[in-house]
Amino acid sequence: MSRSFRVPGRGRVNTRRPVRFTFDGRSIEGFEGDTLASALLATGTHLMGRSFKYHRPRGPISAGSDEPNAIVAVGSGPALQTPNLVATQVEIYDGLTAQSQNRFPCLQFDMGAVNNLASPLLPSGFYYKTFMWPRNFWTKVYEPIIRRSAGLGVAPTAPDPDHYAFQYTFCDVLVAGAGPSGLAAALAAAKAGAEVMIADETAEFGGSLLFDRASRIDGLQTADWVERTVTELKAMPNVRMFTRTTVFNYGPHNMVALNQRMTDHLGTPDPATPRERLWQVRAKQVVIASGAIERPLVFEGNDRPGVMLASAALTFLNRYGVACGRRAVIATADDSAYRVALDLIEAGVTVAAIVDIRPKPDSELFRKVKAAGITVLTNSTVQRAHGSQRIHSVELAPVLPGGDVGEGKNYRCDLLLMSGGWTPSLHLFSQSKGKVIYDADLDTYLPGESAQAERSTGSCRGLYDLGEVLADGLKIGTEAAKDAGCDGEIDLPLWEVTTDAIGRGGFTGALPRRGKGLTAMAFVDYQNDVTAKDVKLAVREGFRSIEHIKRYTTTGMATDQGKTSNLNALGIASSALGRPKQQIGLTTFRAPYTPVTFGAFSGHERGNEFDPDRRTPIDPWARTKGAVFEDVSLWRRARYFPQPGEDMDAAVARECLAVRKSVGIFDATTLGKIEVVGPDAAEFMNRMYVNAWTKLGVGKCRYGLMCRENGFVYDDGVVGRIAPDRFHVTTTTGGAAGVLNMMEDYLQTEWQDLDVWLTSTSEEWAVIAVQGPKAREVLAPLVDGLDISHKTMPHMSVVEGTIGGIPMRLFRVSFSGELGFEVNVPTSRALEVWERIWEAGKPHNMTPYGTETMHVLRAEKGYIIVGQETDGTATPDDAGCGWAVSKLKKDFVGKRSLALPAMQDPDRYQLVGLYTEAPQEVLEEGVQLVANSNEVIPMNKIGHVTSSYHSATLGRSIALAMVSGGRARMGQTLYVPMEDRMIPVTVTSPVFYDAEGARLNV
């Protein structure tokens, strides 16, 4: 294993920059520019992973993102070990640690491989047929075993310390893929003056040109041409170029998502660098240049390490300078593999034989290979590859007339290359909702008519000749730029291309074999261990749609999402069903093209920035006073202000008593506020609210209740009339945006005749509630001479004035049941005013209180909280607010629904109060009520508790409840069934305190 498989003079890795990394703890040296796979292959290591189901030893079959086998974990530690990365994509750096996955105890000896021995018992769908007895064994016994053996890598267990960036951007032409066609298209579009973005998923631009040693463009080696072209593109100000960037999602309206990997290839990235950046690109035109993927051949043992795609071996050789073996056999159905043979020979690899499934292959390359004296077996097949953790030989056998397979001959080899032809990558095209069409000539699917502003170019639309590909790229790039509105004079290059004349070929399905092969395992989907037999079994069991076959066998559902397997599965299904491929169709291509990190989607929406954290201007003061906060929609509100040693109950009891006995101060800034202005303001309010507004005098306030058109309570709040044509409307904290939206909806779409306009003033005004018998005494000296006596300013009135010279709208309103004011002041001055009131309140032992005390105080008064007493199914009358509903108005939002018989049902849930028999017993909010103490499950429930508190004022507990026919049940005993007992409660009025309202009118 120590002997190097590096080929001097080949490859683009930097042999002057050795890089040391570990794989499964083994220290290994590679070079700068290597992937993990190329560096391991350079040491002769093919075994890199274990398969999903049978735990079979596996090596890479590909050199790119389509790799199904070489799946590894990279990084170390509970936070950073990242599972399921593809070794053919992982770039190595000094200190990289990688581990193999899905094996125990180690990659070379894996206990899970016992599944392989049991494989005859584990065909597709075996789990649907078994594990059903005894019934409870599924969850307890079978499923845990299945789960432990499934899964690939291990998820991190500690939070990811990295961060991820996000960016929207725009361009005229987005080119997905920077192989020959992509580069040509980008160049043409850029020359036409288009703003171009071009992205490639690998570390270097060039695609196949980076490993094509045979072709010449303008006499240049292809890699040199790439360098020349990339240099030219980079020099253009209208071009943005991205490596390590996957175009992974083609959304509606030409919104295309890219994932740029920024640090994974670096050993010690600057910690400020985002690990990845997600781009959302709105492109006028998209050019898909996503290339084609070589297809494996399906034969027994095609998964043995050492079996790989011919193009992969060529890539490893020419891009990374690695020979994947010493002695190769090549199995092909396509001419391109002959080029691989020639390059291998040139690099000193022995090509023991080429086996071609086609009866009479013929091409320039074929003749070159023959001329080089290589054994070529035509009309022949691979019967079986031998070896376990590495292939050692392969049986090649002739296909006899009539289709049977004859006796074959074993060829010794350590490398078996396969080429079933090429599958154009249709993922992005298909995601764009373009319809794929079957091409009989190429025996594959190609892009059909575009559904969006998009074009495919190059091998992803079935062009394989380099000259054609480059010309196509130029043409498509020009057209895209033109359709994007850029039709500048273009001086298009004319490239002289010499290349191997690539003929055609290809094969889909399973290779012919000798015998039934009932125990032979020929893999279609490598990672998910789906064999040709499995596909046939699915068809045998009646699964005829390709989507059913995919789901029953799980083919195409592994981390590679079927890039190498889909067409072969289709081929096998086609033979088994006896229907042509075009009548069967492909499964849907689902985004993402390759897996994308969750973190990249979430970007900076994390921690406190997950959602805006809205704070009031009083928040800093509340924090210095030790307030405990709660989230109410986006706002943080002070819930209570505990003093040392106090829990919530103690703090709330103290705060409540302070308000009842003297005065409290409360931050009500988060209330929504809407200024309703215009000559038709009152008419508009009449239509929106259940109340009547016309007669509300200037300077007066009214409690407003709003329904939805379905008749159920939507929001409430006090409304003050500031001027005949101006209302100051308040809403609940959570309802602010919704109420404004609903108002705008009616105004803009139904009542365009009204001269009235709405402006949100929620954040214009901060609101300081001063509540309690001493409220007036505290405020009076502060309001710059304003007369706020009961006579001049009775309950439910509003006046404009100043407080210490600061403009103010002063409301005399109360949500506590005590004499109260709400001081509305400009938000930036609120803290100043608050502190002034605070100082003035000190002689009265003014107490700050939070939302919890606010809730208790209002519950003592029977005031509802929309969303707590009501839940979207309560009418105004249900909520005890029937009094607010105007009987005179001909119409208002919700009126027609309220007239439905069901809305008048006497058994509707109605708001009532409850007293527990034991005065200190506080019910749990949300408990249910029953009428009889002897109810058994399932019980006949007649209501539930919406609010429940200990009332310090009353020295006992109180509760509000919604009870069926509740108002007719006054005095009745109901029961709260708890797990262990029935709690008796008495139905009472929801107003527990000062029912006559004497305390308000002082």
Binding site: Y128, R551, F598, V927
Partner: protein, 418 residues
């Protein structure tokens, strides 16, 4: 029907698995007439056929499917099964279903992998706590298991859960229904198809209903399809997102909107997530499949669409929420995403009912929650079709409830129909 068992599997293994028969009869061409036609070959439609045959002795039935069997929402959901709904009407319906789930594998002789891993519904605000406790108590009195857990208890049940007080919306607690779980979605449909087919039900795929035929008396006489006219006295529509389209053929307007719903899975990893977690407040829904994929439900787009896709910003929002609740999953990767078409009613509760057209029945409006109801809805729909009247459990779930103002508003009551 050949019974599935470990023994049958072993026997067939000896024969290289060549001896298996199709799981259901694939009928290419429908007969001229059936007693009952079910439009829509998803889990609900196939299940209805099964129960009609099994419990009501009606076997001359066709299930007509536009595409491939169970290719709609049956194939596109996140497989959460629970019954902890607030209102009695809903919880009875979903509990009826949950009870059927508990025996479904045995009943169908098809392992639907119903895994009762529990469902945690996480509370982030005081309001959430109040609402969830109301659910817990209401469920308990109905004999439906649902319990309240503190944040610490929730973490014990689901160790990856982030209960740090320092996140934007700290976890204040959670309700837990232990009997809730997940199942293998395809298996349910295939199991029903196999059992129904065995009792004589014809299953016709790739056959689109293009019209509903009615006699002079207005009653249903059959359907037009892309495979010709098929007569039947009863036509039962179970077409999820396409219900409006099919019912419109009989001139019936429904209170439905079809909206895109997206979901996604991560790459498979070893067991790292023991249960289902739902957070309605920050829109995160996650469980881990038997295969090891994290199965994540995203939000609904707000507009009507039949495209089976939506904007990427919707799953992005969900993943941000997932990464807040489970910050160790930030390095996991989205492997596959997809969209479905949900049919949503104004009160987010379904319709399983007769229609105003004699002989025409509809089961729709399941929104984002239809999978969990599969056996229950199928069972009650079959009852309704067979007896031409609803079962007491689905009696409230009529179209007329919107006219009468007797909605079953789980959404308004701050539950979410996931």
């Amino acid at each position: 029907m050949e019974r599935f068992s470990a023994l049958s599997l072993a026997k067939k293994a000896l024969g290289g698995h060549l001896g298996w028969k199709p799981q259901w009869r694939s009928v290419e061409q429908p007969k001229k007439a059936y007693d009952i036609i079910i439009v829509g070959g998803g889990g609900h439609g196939l299940g209805a056929a099964y129960y009609l045959a099994k419990q009501h002795g009606l076997r001359n039935i066709a299930v007509i499917e536009r595409g491939w069997l169970a290719g709609g929402n049956t194939a596109r959901n996140t497989t959460i099964i629970r019954s902890n709904y607030l209102f009695d009407e809903s919880s009875s319906y979903y509990e009826h279903s949950l009870k059927l789930w508990e025996n479904l594998s045995q009943e169908l002789n098809y392992n639907v992998m119903f895994s009762q891993r529990g469902c945690l519904m996480v509370a982030h605000t005081v309001h959430d706590v109040q609402v969830f406790k109301r659910h817990v108590h209401a469920n308990r009195l109905n004999g439906i298991d649902n319990e309240w857990l503190s944040a610490e208890e929730a973490k014990e049940f689901c160790p990856p859960l982030n209960i740090s007080p320092n996140i934007r919306y700290p976890v204040l607690g959670a309700s837990l229904q232990r009997r809730a779980g997940t199942a293998r979605h395809d298996a349910v449909a295939w199991g029903f198809a196999r059992a129904a087919s065995d009792m004589g039900v014809d299953i016709i795929e790739n056959c689109e209903v293009t019209g509903i035929n009615r006699g002079p008396d207005g009653a249903v006489t059959g359907v037009e399809t892309t495979k010709g006219t098929v007569n039947a006295k009863k036509v039962a529509v179970s077409a999820a997102g396409h219900s409006s389209v099919v019912l419109e053929m009989a001139g019936i307007r429904l209170p439905l909107q079809s909206n895109p719903l997206q979901a996604l899975v991560s790459e498979p990893v070893k067991p790292a997530f023991p249960t289902i977690v739902m957070s309605n407040t920050i829109h995160a829904y996650i469980s881990q499949s038997d295969k090891g994929e994290m199965v994540i439900g995203a939000g609904t787009d707000s507009y009507v669409s039949y495209t089976q896709r939506g904007g990427l910003h919707i799953p992005a929002e969900t993943l941000a929420a997932i990464c807040e609740l489970f910050p160790m999953f930030r390095r996991l990767r989205m492997m596959r995403s997809w969209g479905g078409i949900t049919d949503n009613t104004p009160d987010r509760s379904p319709i399983t009912a007769k229609t105003s057209v004699p002989g025409l029945y509809v089961n729709c409006g399941w929104g984002t929650g239809g999978f969990k109801a599969t056996p229950g809805a199928a069972n009650l729909f079959a009852w309704t079709i067979a007896k031409n009247e609803p079962h007491p459990i689905n009696a409230p779930f009529t179209i007329e409830r919107f006219r009468d103002g007797v909605m079953i508003d789980e959404a308004a009551a701050a539950a979410v129909a996931h």
